[in-house]
């Protein structure tokens, strides 16, 4: 059997694939963050909590309402996105004129409160959520099983990322949004309701996190700290990609997933730190991030 650095080639290929799956989550989450930061200038520290709420919404829909995975994929982002819209109206909209730091602290506080409430209500060990029957099972590659569900996650993430990118970069609505970040007063003068557009953008960013949560529910244990485990890594991804760059965060998300996957093979102990090492290097060499514009 062919070997690469002492690891059998098929096994290494499998690990790349697994890295790509984790990268899909990084990409989806950092995409939402990038949308919110790029268009609203808010560092949304509550993104992990909103990801977790997405997973919990799916669980609640199933356990309390008997509503399955596919409907949850649609309803959960709507529910959590609506909560996001309310949060934006009540709190975040007051902060647009202030320094970034205020938004960061506010959303950080919100994240602590949300996670605390869920922890008190549901405990810390998590709740079971089963893989939908249509996506259960696995492909047998010989050297490893590849669960069908994980393949679905990659496809779903790719579609979601591309759609969002096209929407913002290639459509009239996206053009309005980008114009509003440059000069809100001028866009408003053309008759566009900028505050409403901004509110809906935040809601959409939150909904992206919630979709990620629903996709993650069958794989990880649905527990209140599932978001806080991911969010630090995702912030690093956003910083490496360039704050606010949509394409940057998508590409970096997938790439870093793969890098992390390889680290898990060659030096497992370092797999939790490798992304931060890369972040430090990128910040030194290109302070605006790999795809940053400034």
């Amino acid at each position: 059997m062919d070997e690469i650095f002492g690891i059998p080639a098929p096994l290494l290929f499998g690990q790349l694939l697994l890295g790509l799956i984790n990268g899909a989550f990084y990409a989806m989450l950092s995409l939402g963050l990038a949308v919110i930061f790029g268009l609203l200038n808010i560092v949304n520290m509550a993104h992990g909590a909103q990801f977790m709420m997405g997973a919990f919404a799916a669980w609640m829909l199933l356990a309390w309402g008997g509503i399955g995975y596919w409907w949850a994929l649609l309803l959960s982002p709507l529910i959590v996105g609506t909560i996001g819209v309310i949060l934006e109206k009540l709190f975040i909209s007051k902060l647009y004129k202030l320094d970034h730091l205020y938004g960061l602290l506010l959303t950080f506080g919100l994240a602590l409160i949300i996670e605390g409430v869920f922890r008190n209500e549901f405990g810390s060990s998590g709740l079971p959520y089963r893989i939908p029957a249509e996506l259960s099972g696995a492909w047998d590659f010989g050297f490893m099983f590849m669960p069908v569900y994980r393949g679905w996650v990659v496809v779903a993430a790719l579609v979601l990322c591309l759609t969002t990118w096209l929407l913002i970069e290639k459509t009239r609505l996206g053009a309005y949004l980008r114009a509003a970040t440059e000069n809100a007063a001028l866009v408003q003068a053309f008759g566009v309701n900028v505050p409403r557009m901004v509110t809906l953008t935040y809601g959409a960013g939150v909904a992206l996190a919630a979709i990620g949560g629903v996709l993650a529910a069958p794989i990880y244990s649905v527990n209140p700290q599932m978001g806080s485990n991911l969010i630090i890594v995702v912030f690093a991804v956003v910083v490496i990609g360039g704050m606010g760059s949509i394409l940057g965060s998508i590409l970096t998300g997938f790439t870093l997933g793969i890098v992390e996957g390889l680290t898990k093979v060659f030096w497992p102990e370092a797999s939790a730190t490798v992304i931060f090492v890369i972040m430090a290097i990128v910040l030194l060499a290109r302070p605006a991030g790999l795809f940053g514009r400034k």
Binding site: L112, G123, S124, M226
Partner: protein, 415 residues
């Protein structure tokens, strides 16, 4: 009986980057006469992280149950609790602060890295520390402490019960997935010793970052590639839960690989669900449905528990507080507030007996001994009621369950 409970510090710093400095512990002020006649117990554990359900509010509820059942015997008991966030530095600061403020006993202290660190503070200050939640057998081995006791379970006992039984059942080649800190290393070491002693082989191991890992698929695939008969999970809490879920997802069990969940609590089984968890074997020293006494205890404490049935850590907190208070009543409050080593010596001299663990004793190295039980997780159709999860496979007698005194290298044991 005045029993005060005060939340001292209970907020998790969510992000390492935003880590906040520890809050100040505010103990209720007592007059000097009151203070001299009040025994103060501090429960220190994980209130907000991955081990919250395994320890957390459940441990506090069970300690309170012991205080309530002990009743009024001429002195007051006060209980406070705090969150050590699974960080040794937070635990050490809190322990110093608590002992300096007149806390007489620190209880629970899960997460082996924190447990060992607090154990050192207790030794240095000659104050009582009863560790219930940590697993590492080093607490009664090389790092044993004259003023410390290790109560419910340890890595040696888990390794002997689960590991020993798995090798006997034909699982003689192992690969370990190990949480990369004191606990995981100790559990892997103790289990590997049993595997080798029984003629088995260890094919390899992978150390996973704690607590930042939630995707174990890569590690599981690496394990599978070495073609072991058994994958030993030397981890706990949500790490174990995620490993079990993802091993099922990646079809490991369908390829005939057995999972040995070396530390699994009933609270974890509840979270995994019987559908995914059925057939797993695990070891605990307490199960609520073991006998009439354990069922009676569970009925009494359940109304106070946070939507959970007690596991062996929760039960251990009850049992430890009860025995400690009996000792205080026996030696007097003034003596009990004196040097910790003397209190612990008295506790070692008295036999233990309670509803959770039955009759037992505390050895000279600080090891509380009682029987250990090997369980198999039931199939969904076998479970007849809420939390009816375990089938008893075998019982290891008190004298056999834990590491022999001579093998631990504890300086307190004179050869």
């Amino acid at each position: 009986m005045t029993e005060t409970t005060k939340m001292a510090l209970g907020r998790r710093t969510l992000l390492a980057t935003g880590a906040a400095a520890g809050a100040v512990t505010a103990l209720p002020r007592l007059s000097r006469a009151q203070a001299a006649n009040t025994i103060r117990i501090g429960v220190m554990n994980d209130m907000s992280g991955t081990y919250r359900d395994n320890t957390g509010p459940g441990s506090v509820a069970c300690a309170q149950q012991a205080i309530a059942e002990f009743g009024q015997r001429g002195f007051n008991v006060e209980l406070i609790f705090a969150d050590h966030q699974n960080k040794p530095d937070v635990g050490v600061n809190l322990a110093r602060q608590w002992y300096d403020q007149g806390i007489d006993l620190i209880l629970d202290i899960p997460t082996s890295s924190v447990g060992l660190a607090v154990n050192n503070v207790a030794k240095e200050k000659n104050k009582v520390a009863i560790n219930v939640g940590s697993a590492t057998s080093d607490l009664t081995g090389a790092q044993c402490n004259p003023s410390g006791i290790h109560w419910a379970y340890d890595t040696y006992m888990l390794a002997k019960s689960t590991g020993g039984a798995t090798v006997k059942a034909g699982g003689d080649t192992w690969f370990f997935i190990t949480a990369d800190y004191a606990f995981g290393h100790a559990l892997e070491r103790d289990t590997a010793n049993f595997v080798r002693a029984a003629g088995g082989r260890v094919l390899g191991q992978v150390r996973t970052p704690f607590p930042a890992t939630s995707d174990f698929s890569s590690f599981l695939v690496q394990a599978q590639a070495t073609r072991p008969k058994v994958i030993g999970l030397a981890n706990a809490g949500s790490d174990t839960i995620n490993c079990v879920k993802q091993a099922a997802e990646f079809g490991l069990t369908r390829r005939g690989i057995k999972l040995a969940s070396l530390l699994l609590f009933i609270t974890d089984v509840h979270s995994i669900g019987l559908q995914t968890g059925q057939g797993l074997v695990c070891s605990e020293t307490f199960y609520w449905d073991l006998n009439d006494r354990t069922r009676a205890f569970t009925r009494r404490v359940l109304p106070k528990m946070p939507n959970l049935y007690p596991n062996m850590i929760h039960a251990g907190c009850y049992s430890a507080v009860l025995h400690y208070l009996k000792t205080v009543a026996d030696m007097g409050v003034t003596a009990a507030k004196g040097p910790g080593a003397e209190v612990v010596n008295r506790m070692k001299a008295m036999p233990t007996d309670d509803d959770c663990f039955g009759a037992g004793s505390i050895r000279v190295d600080g090891r509380k001994i009682h029987p250990s039980y090997l369980f198999e997780v039931k199939k969904p159709e076998e479970s007849k009621g809420p939390w009816d999860y375990y089938k008893l496979l075998q019982t290891t007698a008190t004298e056999e369950a834990f590491r022999p005194l001579a093998e631990g290298n504890c300086p307190l044991v004179r050869s």
